[in-house]
Amino acid sequence: MTSLTNTVSPVQAMMIRSSSAMIGMVAFIASWAMLFGGLFFAFGLLRLGSEAWPPVNVINLPIALPAINTGILLSSSVLLMVAMHYLRKGNERATVHALLIATILGIMFVVTQAWLWNEMSGLGLNLSDSHYGGLFYMFTVIHVIHVVVGIGGLLALTINAYRGRYTQESHLPVRLWSMYWHFVGVVWIPMFVLLFLS
C-alpha cells in the first residue's frame, strides 16, 4: 500500500485524508461500544442478582411508547441513508429534505424520551429506589446525551447541505456523522430490549 513518491494527486490526497477520518471514527465507535458494553454487563449482573424483575412494588415501564420511539430513531437512521443516497446521485434538494426529516425525527426521539421520564417519575418510579428505575434513568440519560450531540451534528449537516457545501465527490462530514448516528441508533436496540422487554 506504500508508494515510492512523496506527492500524490489531489484526489488521492483527499481519499487518504477521508480514510484516516473514517478509521478514526471507527476507532471512536469501537471505544464507545465498549463503554456501552460495560454498562450492559452491569445490567446483566444486577439483573441476575435481583430476586424478581421488575422488582415487586415498583412501577413497571411501558412497552408501546418506547417501541414507537425506537421506530422513530431507526427511521431517522434510514432517512440519513436516504440523504446519502440522494447526495451521491447529486440531488441536492432531496438531500436537504431527507437530512431535515432525519433531524426532526431525532428531536422527536428526545422529546418522547423526556415525556417518558416525566411520566414515570410522576407515577413514582425514581432513580434510587431500585436498580430497575436506576438503570432505566441512567442508561436513557446517557444515551440521550449522545442523541443530542448527534442532533447538533445533523443540524449542521442540514444547514451546510442547504448552502450547497457538499458535492457528489466531497461530503466527508456527512459520512462521519452518519456513522455516528447509526451507532447511536444501533446501541439503542440492546438498550431497548434490556430496559423494556426483559
Partner: protein
Amino acid sequence: MSELQPIHAAPTSFIKKHIFSTDHKVIAKQFLWAGLLFLALGGFLAMLIRWQWAFPGEAVPFVGQGMFPSSDGSITPSGYTKLFTNHGLIMIFFAITPLLIGFFGNLLIPLQIGARDMAFPRLNMASFWVFVLSQLLVLASLVVPLGAAAAGWTTYPPLSTNIATPGLGQTLMVMALFVVGISTIMGAINYIVTIIGFRAPGMGYFKMPLSIWGLWLASILNLLFVPVLGSAGLLLLFDRLFDTQFFIAGASGNGDPILFQHLFWLFGHPEVYILILPAWGVIADFLSFFSRKPSYFYKGSVWALVTISILSALVYGHHMFVAGMSPMLGKSFMLLTLAISIPAELLFLNWLHTIWKGSIRLTVPMLFSLGFVFVFALGGLTGIHLGTISTDLYLHDTMFVVGHFHFTLAAATFLAVFAGIYFWFPKMFGRHMNQRLGKIHFWTSFIGINGVFTGQLIVGYAGQHRRLYDPYEYTFIKHLQPLNEWTTYFAFFLGVSSLVFVVNFFWNVFRRGHDENIDNPWEVGTLEWTVPSPPHHHNFDTIPTVFHGPHEYSNPEVKKALGKDWLAQTEKFSFSKQDDS
C-alpha cells in the same frame, strides 16, 4: 500534484508555539513536564507511606507539622489511607501514563514512522488539555472539605461509595479518572490512525521500530478498555451523586460491589500491559542499538507483543480469586494467565539473545535498559505466584503483591522512562545530558529500586498485609520492623537520587548553546536520527523513503563498503544476499 502532508509555517506567537501548540514535539514535551511533575508528587507521597511503615505514629520530619497539624506531625490513620490511595492513582494515571503514552507516543510516532505530524493535530492538542483538566481535578480533590480520595487506588465499593468516603475528594477523583480516560482515548485514536495511515513510503509494519509496535498495541488496548473503566466510573458517580445503589449491598441496598471489581479489572488487567508495552518496545530497540546487533527474531518479538495484548484481555479474573469465584472459572483464568508467560518468555529470550555477544556500549540509556531487563525479570517471575490460585490464596493482599506490581509497573516503567529521556534528550532539546551524572543516577536508583521492592516482597511473603496503618500491632509481624526500616532507607535513598536527575535535566534544558555531534550521537538508524536536533517544525523536508528495518547493525558488508557499523533506515544499500526476511 499536491502533497498529502503539507508543510505548515511554524507558529511565531508564544501561545501558539508553546501552549496551545498542535506540534506533536511540543505536546510531547508538555506531557513530559506534566508527567514529571506528578511523578514527583506521587514519589513524595510514597516517602510518607514508607515513613509510616518504618516509624509508625512518629512525627514526620520537615513536612509533618504542616501536613498533619491535628496529630502534631504524625500521620493519622485517615491521612495514611489518603496517602496510599493518591500515591497509586497519581502514579498510574497521572505520571506513568502521560510519560509512557503521552510523551513517548507523541514524540516517537510521527518521527519514527516518517510523518510530519499526527493524523489529527488539533485532537492531539485537545488530548493534552483535557489531561491537564484531569490533573487539576486531582489537585482539587486533595484540598476539598472532608478530604481527599481514600478508597485505595482500586476505588472498590463500598469503600468508594458515600457510606465510607462521603468527601467531595473521592467524587472529584472518580471524575478525574473519567476525564483522563477521555484524554487517553483521544490520544489512542490519533496514534492508531497515524500509524496506519501516515507511515513513510517503504515503512511496512515489519519495518517499524519495536517502540512503535509497543505504542500501537498499547493504544489499541487503551481504546478498547479505558471506556470499560469509564462505565464503572459512571455507575459509581451515579451511586455517589444520585443515590442509586448499584454497588451498595446490605441494609441500604441490594447492589453488587463485586460488579465494580469485574468492570475495574476488565479494564485493569489490559491497563498493566498498556503501561508495559511501550516500555518493552523502547527497551527492545535500545538493547539492539547499544549491542550493535539486529534485534534477535524481530518478528517473533512482534508476534509475542500481539499475543500478549490479546491474552491480556482474557485474564482479569486472576485479580478476583478471593472474591468468591467459581473454581472452574478460577482455573480457566489461572491457565490463561500462566499462558502469558510463554510469549513473554519469547520476548525476554529475544532480548537476551540480542545482547548476547554484542559489542555492548554501556551508555546511560543502555544501563537503564539492562536494569529494566533485570527488574522486569523479577517482576515477571513473582507474577507467577500470584497467577496461581493455590499460592495466591496466601499471598493475596500482602506486601508481596505490592512488591510484584512495583517491580513491573513502577521499577520497570521508571527505568524505561528514564532510558527514553536520556536517549531522546539530544533530539528534543539539541543538547546532551551529562553522562557521568546519568550513570550516577542509574546506579543509585537501581540500588534504591531493588532495595525497596525486594524488601516489600520479603515482608509480604512473611505475611504483612499491604494496607496496614501500623503493621506491628500484629505480633507475628513485629519482627519485620527492622526490615521495613531498611526498606524505608532504600526508598529515601531512591528519592534523594532523583535529585541527580533533576539537576542534570533542568541544567541541560535551560542552559544556552547548541552542542556538537547532536544530530545522531548514538549512531542509530531510525528515522528521527536522520533529521537535525531538534527537528524542524515539519520534521522532514521531504518525506523519507525507507529501505531497511530499524535494527541494521554490524553487517560486515556495510562495514566493508561504508566503514561504519550501522545503516540508517533511509540509506539505500543493496546487500548481496537479502537477509531481512
